[in-house]
Symmetry: C2
Subunit: 409 residues, 2 copies
């Protein structure tokens, strides 16, 4: 079950002027399930995004990048679940282009003004005809106040839909941000694709919009992990419609830019953390803070070694303060000159290790108390620099874990 | 259950002249269980080893390296299970030295002529008194023909003991090699420490002995993975007693050296593969061959990405040819200029993917047939160089996997 994650409330999701959303049941993988989303954008809306770095990136990722680069102005995003159109070679590219052309025909625009996204099973041909047949229904119900349905239409094995809204005031103008995401991670049977769509009615030029989505992703979606598997289809898109009536943000600096970046990062962080909280089988949400590193790379390296260690994750599921496993993960993170005697390890407020071993003040009952919580922070103070990094992860559960969990009992 | 792994047969384990072994029940973690091994070496025996690269390496690793470097001649190895003496700081080092001193006292040698090894739970103080109290019993039953008991005495959560013997003829002299190992990997609740001890009565000088153990480890223990967690205590030791009556191998080249290296590598490979076959919950033994890479680093990088992917591992447990997951793992292995359209993916003899997608000749029933086997080879032909690498891994099983397994059905 999701860890401290409430489903979105439809009434709390705010429309974003210039964005209308329509969903449909196209029967892509199963019948009677919303599996198609069309997001139509007003004229002049700008779109920027970050995509998976997987070399086997899916066909829609390739096509979306091409269409963004074409610069013809994006008029709609098309998202299907049930099929990732990944590992599909040349045919996959043709199929992704065909779905764009089909939607362009319905909306009366050019195919390169459509961005395609797919999530689901990979190495299976995309059912283009089913998608094309579903488009009229999705377009017919395009409305602005439809983020709730949109969040549901992009789910695959997610248990809880992920959506959030926020408003900020920029230059005296109230600006609205609404975002949705999907994904859940390793324990799920799909590619664990993470998709995120954040729209705002703020006016932001293309260059700062791209800088903003990259920076926000770097502090949100790029800081979560369930399993370390990087999907072929991951994408985070940021849409700025310019309908709020504020002066355009023209550069990647200044107070308006910083205010917007902070708000977008906050929305992205909520959406990204929700993916971890919905990691199937997750029973613990784990925040990993690495402090006092020399650079971000070594902080993230150590953080990910902890986050990806099956031994650490199973200990957390078992609520077993077998915390030496964290030391071991720090030790093999690949920071070659790391002085293990200089670092301190905390579990929430409890000092666990220092001087290369268990802290003299540490009592098993304190570790046990923190391990019972569903939200836990692991803090590693490296004492070798001034850089910090924060990651979010979850535990491993299920019967296979019980064997791990019984070792110390 | 272990995958195609037979327990050792006592009568097939050959004594190695110059090595005698004694075991005892010291009650380190549990009563009534062999948990202490003493391997006494004849005068003039040489020992070389490779150790974990974990920065949080255990105290016995540090002490064993010091004692090897001291060059006083190693007279015995002392192995305990039930406690890893890792993450124990300064006290752990003192404790490791104390156990060496205790055994030196019993055997009448110097403490730095003893190499200590520990495996088991970490961040708990080593019960030095129990170990010291168990030593006389172990020393009393020191005999050459005791490899079977020795293999059992170093087990932690291993289901099957791991031991093998081999003989080769060098310069007309029959030389004996016997080795034992322990370890099992992530699904096990301990640190998954891998320990390996290989002894031969061949005469080998120190420098070629060190070259030999490094080379053999690189093609055996360094090519297996269950979970990617590198233990604080891993060690592989190679002992050459020189009792066979052959001319000493004095350099790391020539036919005698190459013959010995091949035999040692073969023994090490059997012992290393046995660790994977005994990975708890493993139902499939997976050989991963990466061919046609530019260098070993990129071959191993891609191989480990496949081997560590929980999504790939769960697909194998489910016998589900959801083989796009392998493509995805190849794609995120970090080989930035990889041309995915140029590579070919095979499952045993079945061509699965080429030209960036599923091969036209691929039939689901062929993939399904191979996936039913308990020994499976994944072969990736990169077509970008002349270097190959082979790794061995296993699947993930248990209920948590059932959820993964049901996605495509």
């Amino acid at each position: 079950m999701p860890v401290n994650l409430n489903p979105p409330v439809a009434a709390q999701l705010l429309p974003v002027a210039g964005v209308s959303l329509g969903v449909a049941e196209a029967g892509i993988k199963r019948e009677n399930r919303k599996d198609l989303l069309v997001m139509q954008l007003c004229d002049g809306a700008r779109v920027a995004g970050v995509f998976t770095k997987n070399r086997f990136c899916a066909a829609p990722v390739t096509v979306a990048k091409e269409h963004l680069a074409a610069g013809a102005g994006i008029r709609a995003l098309l998202v299907n679940t049930g099929n990732a159109n990944a590992g599909t070679g040349e045919q996959g590219l043709q199929d992704a282009r065909s779905t764009c052309a089909a939607l362009a025909g319905v909306l009366g625009c050019q195919a390169e003004q459509i961005l395609p996204f797919s999530t689901g099973v990979i190495m299976e041909p995309l059912p283009v005809a089913k998608i094309a047949a579903g488009l009229p229904a999705a377009v017919t119900n395009l409305v602005a106040d439809n983020w709730f349905d949109a969040a549901h239409a992009i789910m695959t094995t997610d248990i809880v839909a992920k959506a959030v809204s926020k408003q900020v005031v920029i230059d005296g103008v109230t600006v609205t941000i609404t975002g949705i995401s999907k994904g859940s991670g390793m324990i799920h049977p799909n590619m664990a694709t993470m998709l995120g769509y954040i729209a705002t009615d703020a006016a932001i030029a293309q260059a700062p919009l791209q800088a903003m989505v990259s920076a926000a992703a770097n502090r949100s979606f790029n800081c979560i992990t369930v399993d370390g598997d990087t999907s072929t289809n991951d994408a985070l898109m940021l849409i700025a419609t310019g309908q709020a009536g504020m002066p355009e943000i023209t550069g990647a600096s200044g107070s308006a830019y910083e205010t917007m970046l902070a708000a977008i990062t906050e929305v992205a962080t909520v959406l990204a953390q929700a993916i971890v909280r919905d990691g199937e089988g997750a029973t613990k949400f784990i925040t990993i803070k690495i402090e006092g590193g020399r650079d971000e790379d070594e902080c993230k390296r150590i953080g990910y070694a902890i986050a990806h260690s099956p031994l650490v994750k199973t200990a957390f599921f078992a609520s077993d303060p077998n915390l030496g496993r964290i030391l071991a993960a720090i030790g093999y993170a690949g920071v070659d000159d790391l002085d293990v005697a200089a670092l301190r390890l905390y579990l929430d407020d409890v000092l666990v290790a220092e001087n290369g071993g268990r802290a003299a003040s540490y009592r098993e009952e304190d570790g046990q108390r923190v391990m019972q919580q569903s939200d836990i922070t692991i803090r590693v103070v490296l004492n070798r620099g001034a850089v910090d990094a924060t990651l979010w992860s979850c535990d491993f559960s299920y019967d296979y874990v019980k064997i791990n969990a019984s070792y110390r009992s």
